[in-house]
Symmetry: C2
Subunit: 438 residues, 2 copies
């Protein structure tokens, strides 16, 4: 295939999830789950799809940031671009003027993620493979060429990364077969949103166990007495052998986190997620030391590989939670998977939101086949909403993510969903505006 | 004065500085110094001015982020808002939907800075005082009310902050008089941009000493042999007693930073600035340990008070460089000044860019009068360009910033400058577009 990338189109898509309190937690009482959706276009008919996930206000700022990347893509030769996504990544991330707005964090970095992921979607479509399989078939030298080792070399060199990948090479075929047979373990956050009452919590916990999940997660951090009560209910319902993670969504200072977790400890929380600011490496390390044997997990708001590197160097986490669309997309997540493998820390991805389950399963499956070589003590988050808007939705059976089989990165939304939820001019939003005006 | 805040207006202002290589360094070869300029309007005639500083591409994204804050301001009562800027700060920073885009970093946080600084400009105009004087006249309890201690309490509590401010209270009048008499020491970066040839470097170093500066700064990190040569020239010209700082603008990994600084050590560099990623607390700490007695300075790209807290906790810097417009404006900089005072680390602000000298002098002068109580071992960066676009420009005499006397935060640009450099439709840019098209 020859051809040229012609440009990109963006769309501000928002779902009015705040109406149902799905997704409510101690820091995010009323999110409207949203996507800054991007389609990278070519003159061949091939297209790539990607997005940044936000929770409502500001999605238009995120969309503007994605548009700012169009000049870097328009006019590029298609195949040469898709075959050098390590080079494209570096060009986008290190653009001297745009990096001033980060560097490598927040809105500009999530814009890179959306575009880079869209290019990976396009490459996987071109090559007729789901992304996890495309990545898992690459030789180790090509995988390390995708990684930017800038700022990492004190923790992970290119040679060490190559060693990790080469050690995993012999078992690739066997692990791929296992994955196709059994899928990848999931845990569910659906029971535990703060906005749900106790009866709903109890019912959803029971259903989660019945559906095969071996781990659930509760949101905490609003009120300690409420959290103790909810944790007691959940433990009663799921029994002693199902893991219960708790998630504070950055609510606490270091001292408060330690005190709060001690209150919950009698109910055996498996990990505490985002106990404090995602920027606070030393704070996470202090919490981890104080609450052991309860474990610390974090990552969905960690800005980039440099912060993940330090969390690992400082023994600040027991579980590393990548997010498919916050750091700079596939390439930076490969760097983070390699860092985690080097430090022997299991990766348990963040998902939920809009389309994050669809994306991140590819990365964990690649990790299993070609990087860490292990599913032990690893689970991918699963939240059961908004999948119906995607053309290749995540499928979880008996508590396991099934292997995606469609070519691409599963990032493509249904055109009718994009049209309906487009903000502010899609019919869902014009109806809401009319109601509010009435 | 009663009244209401009616809204805000923004403007994308860009100066074509890349044409002269002013501002060129190892990471920023061709910046077009820019401002996302904001005016907060009222129905009383009073207005507040602020901006985010960027270096060109993406300034439109920054401007969109500032516009996203308008709904938080429009319709608010004027005096109640200006008298509770601690509350306003928290409301803007912790908005649950917008913080997803950071949190507290990058484009959304710089937008808060622009708006919060504009509100401070407005309050200082209303009260008829320059900002430094307004802040320096506040009682300690009102100052700590401006600070958000979230995520800080493991390093600095409200009570500790109050103690620091109370200890400084008795000497305020005397220090204010000293400041009015002698100003605040500056250092100059104008000689040391990477794009300048050796003759220009030599001439500008000589002129800096003649103009009374006791510290200059050279950009480094392009090529080590070049840096050794430039450092030798600078040391020859300024003699042994003028401090020469070097600035790598994040160019290096940890190991490279250590090796490079050892090459420059014979020429006695005073500090090395931004040796690596601004997110790398542990990396800065490792560099600091390895290059002592050369000192580490950083801060212009440090995202927020949480990262500054850790840099201090980890002994990762000897000089803390606040920036007036990257963290969340005046309020967060007060938190950072208090943290630095607690840890006994001198604050030497970053300036230059567009209007950063104008703003940050107020913060250092407030620090001297009411927080640290000291000018010892402290200098504010000074870069001699673009001041002509401001109505209350920074004035440096005999190597010292003079005290601003106009009411406000000195953030107001000349209307004719805004009109001329407005991007892309101001006459400067339409001319450039014509040239490029020709």
């Amino acid at each position: 295939m020859t051809g040229t990338i012609t440009g990109l189109s963006t769309c501000d898509v928002r779902f009015p999830t705040s109406r149902e309190l799905d997704g409510s937690d101690a820091m995010n009482p009323d999110p409207d789950y949203s996507a800054s959706y991007v389609v990278v276009d070519t003159d061949t008919g091939l297209a790539g799809h990607g997005f940044a996930f936000t929770i409502g206000r500001g999605n238009e700022v995120q969309t503007a940031a994605i548009r700012a990347l169009e000049p870097f893509l328009a006019g590029r030769p298609l195949d040469a671009t898709l075959d050098d996504l390590g080079g494209v990544w570096a060009e986008l991330v290190h653009d001297s003027q745009l990096r001033w707005l980060g560097p490598e964090k927040g809105v500009v970095h999530m814009a890179v993620a959306a575009v880079v992921n869209a290019l990976w979607d396009m490459r996987a479509r071109r090559d007729g493979k789901p992304l996890w399989k495309l990545l898992a078939d690459l030789p180790p030298t090509e995988i390390v060429d995708l990684v930017d080792f800038r700022y990492l070399s004190d923790a992970l060199t290119r040679e060490e990364a190559l060693d990790i990948l080469r050690r995993a090479e012999p078992g690739r075929a066997q692990r791929e077969a296992q994955l196709r047979r059994s899928g990848y373990p999931a845990y569910t956050t659906s029971p535990g949103w703060l906005g749900y009452d106790d009866a709903k919590l109890r019912r959803l916990c029971r259903e989660a166990v019945e559906r095969g999940f071996r781990q659930i997660k509760l949101k905490v951090g609003g009120d300690v007495a409420d959290d103790v009560r909810r944790m007691r209910i959940a433990r009663e319902v799921v029994g002693p052998d199902v893991r219960i993670a708790v998630d504070a969504n950055q609510r606490w200072d270091v001292g408060t986190a330690i005190d709060w977790i001690r209150e919950l400890a009698p109910f055996d929380p498996w990990w505490v997620e985002e106990p404090t600011s995602p920027d606070d490496v030393l704070g996470h390390a202090a919490i981890a030391r104080a609450i052991s044997p309860v474990r610390v997990a974090t990552g969905e708001h960690v800005a980039n590989r440099v912060v993940f590197k330090q969390l690992l160097q400082a023994d600040a986490l027991s579980y590393l939670q990548i997010d498919a669309a916050r750091v700079g997309g596939v390439n930076e997540n490969i760097a983070i998977l390699l860092l985690a493998a080097k430090f022997g820390v299991p990766v348990c991805p963040h998902a939920g939101g809009v389309g994050l389950c669809e994306l991140v399963r590819h990365l964990s499956m690649f990790d299993f086949v070609a990087v860490s070589g292990s599913m032990e003590d690893r689970v991918i988050e699963y939240v059961d909403h908004l999948h119906e808007h995607f053309l290749d939705p995540a499928v979880v059976r008996d508590g396991h993510y099934q292997v995606p089989r469609e070519p691409g990165f599963s990032a493509r939304m249904r055109p009718e969903s994009v049209a309906e939820y487009r903000y502010p001019d899609g019919p869902v939003w014009t109806d809401i505006a009319r109601e509010r005006g009435a």
